[in-house]
């Protein structure tokens, strides 16, 4: 009886028969090759993805090595309870003030919703997905086959064919505002959508985390498998347990309209990458202490540290980690910084000396991070790796200090 009623309703609401699904302009993704999956699983461990991400296929390292767990526990004040991490309250408060990065990260769960091809391309050349998050996926040391293998391990299953009929994109656009979606989500490339306040807003702390974790909906059509998009809008937690996206409580027709808008609305192209422009050198004298406080000890040193003081681990940029063998670059003191890094030929070289274009190597890496955030993939890896770029005014300090003879 209920089934009959539903059928009758379907006929009534679609007098001309249901729309076909939004057409795919590519073949469906088949199940991944088992050999690739196995290789990808090994790479997940080798590249230490679990030092940042929690996830189904990942075994978390102890907190002493987990970039996010350790930061979170310090922020939660748990470190104050004692053990190896006991710290006087004043010190703990300073840490809590200083830790701005790697506090909040997407968990790698329910990744079957993503397109495998997106994951592979994203790992090779990450771009900023979540405008509210100050940390990006770092550009790791990966070649194309490794990225494919990782994507196979993270998204092993075949892509289901979309079967939901297409809806009305104009209505979908209105629904984004009416349901308050854009309270959390940016949607670059479309005309601004004004969001209504949420009917049942989460508590403020959860709301803050959710708006940090909410992806820019511009990328959704490249990221999500269309069939999964429908499931996601019906019940996000069914696809990704523990997700911060609240159940949007939508009707089936609303889901179709929203999905169609997200998948098909034309997007303004992203602005082309802009090369960052250096500020001119300063006229005044700049001392090492100033540069150290603004750049090296503030940020860099956490990945480029002195191994003697850290039980042998000088961080990913010095002794290695996150799949890097390490550039043997210690940025923890003037003498260490003057000692340079180890280049690809195994020889040590200065990071303060100029490259052929006259820019000191270290400055070029800092500018590269600015370029990465405008969508470029510069040859030199941007530093600080995956984090907020060093402000141009601080790069100016560094460049001035180098030009003035890099005194201790």
């Amino acid at each position: 009886m209920p089934r009959l009623a539903a059928l009758a309703l379907a006929f009534l609401s679609c007098g001309t028969g249901p729309n076909p699904p939004v057409p795919l302009d590519r073949p469906l993704e088949p199940a991944a090759d088992p050999a690739q999956i196995a290789r990808g699983q090994a790479l997940l461990a080798e590249l230490q993805c679990a030092r940042c991400h929690d996830g189904d296929a990942l075994t978390p390292p102890p907190r002493e090595r987990h970039c996010v767990h350790c930061h979170q526990s310090i922020l939660a004040g748990v470190a104050a309870v004692g053990g190896d991490f006991a710290a006087p309250p004043a010190e703990l408060a300073r840490w809590q003030r200083d830790i701005t990065h790697l506090r909040e990260l997407p968990e790698l769960r329910g990744l079957g919703r993503l397109r495998r091809s997106f994951v592979a391309a994203f790992l090779l050349s990450p771009h900023d997905l979540r405008p509210g998050l100050n940390t990006s996926m770092p550009r790791l040391h990966l070649d194309e086959p490794s990225a494919q293998a990782l994507a196979a391990a993270l998204v092993p299953d075949a892509e289901p064919a979309p079967h939901e009929p297409a809806g009305d994109p104009t209505r979908g656009r209105d629904l984004l505002g009416e349901h308050g979606c854009t309270n959390c989500h940016a949607f670059t490339g479309v005309a601004t959508i004004t969001a209504r306040p949420l009917a049942h807003p989460p508590d403020p702390a959860t709301m803050l985390r959710a708006s940090q974790q909410a992806p820019d909906l511009r990328f959704t059509r490249d990221r999500l498998r269309p069939a999964a998009l429908h499931t996601w809008l019906a019940d996000p937690a069914a696809l990704k347990p523990g997700t911060l996206m609240p159940d949007p409580d939508l009707r089936q027709d609303e889901i179709r309209d929203l999905a169609t808008y997200l998948l098909t609305t034309p997007l303004e192209p992203l602005p082309p990458p802009v090369p960052p422009v250096m500020l001119p050198l300063l006229d005044r004298e700049v001392g090492f202490a100033e540069v150290d406080a603004a750049i090296f000890h503030k940020t860099c040193w956490h990945c480029h540290s002195d191994p003697s003081y850290a039980s042998g681990d000088g961080g990913p940029g010095n002794t290695g980690g996150l799949g890097f063998t390490g550039a043997s670059l210690d940025l923890s003191s003037h003498a260490a910084i003057s000692s340079g890094s180890r280049g690809p030929d195994g020889k040590r070289r200065s990071v303060l000396a100029p490259l052929p274009d006259g820019t000191p190597r270290i400055v070029a890496h800092l500018l590269a991070r600015h370029a990465e955030l405008t969508g470029a993939t510069p040859e030199l890896r941007g530093m600080p790796l995956g984090l907020t770029p060093v402000p141009l005014a601080d790069i100016q300090l560094l460049a001035t200090w180098i030009a003035q003879g890099r005194k201790p």
Binding site: P62, R63, E64, R65, H69, C70, Q72, S73, A76, V78, A79, V81, G83, D84, F85, A86, A87, E91, W95, P202, T206, R209, A237, P241, G242, T243, L244, W301, H302, C303, S305, D306, P307, S308, Y309, A310, S311, G312, D313, G315, P316, N318, G321, S328, A335, A336, S338, S339, G340, R342, K347, R348, R349, S350, L352, A353, G405, R406, K407, P408
Partner: protein
Amino acid sequence: MPCTRLALAPLALLAMFAAPPSPASACMNEVERVVDVTNQAIRTAEELLARNNYRGAAKVVLGTFPKVLVADHQTRRQALFHRGQRIVALAQIRSGGDIRIAGLPARTDADREVALAWAAATLRLHAARGDTSVVLTSELAEALAQRPAERHEAHALLKELADADIMPTARAWSVLAALEQQRGDTNAAARATARCKELAPDDASCDPKGVS
């Protein structure tokens, strides 16, 4: 949903506190700075050495690692032990072998020579262990520069660093200046002295005559 996760998180962390300490990550040096007295002591010794307080530096290291003369002594903090050995070796070199350590004689010129030989051998051992730190290379060169038979090697080590523009300290430039002077290359000596003075304008040791 998120609430359950938040409530569980502290429990999971408490469980981690009970776990035995394992190798620290890069950031942990900051965490340890507060609680780890070994780190603190070695940093203090390093600062004393930098201020030319050789005796003070050696004393702090010996207080932390009494077995500093034992080349292959194994400790929980091996890297810091090695650092301590390097500090004491440099203190000997910079004081002309004048630091008294139980186990090393230090009264006569011959005794001083023994202490200097120990210092050079210790730094050589660290370099041979595969520690590629440029600072260590420059320290070894500083030790070798004191020993006429090994000055040639000292010069080669520092020249390589200078040519690659990775000279770590003003002191290393001053040692190179003295070595160039001894070899009779006054131009090279003047260049090294100038770089030393540029880095450490107030340091009298930049004058090549200040280094023997």
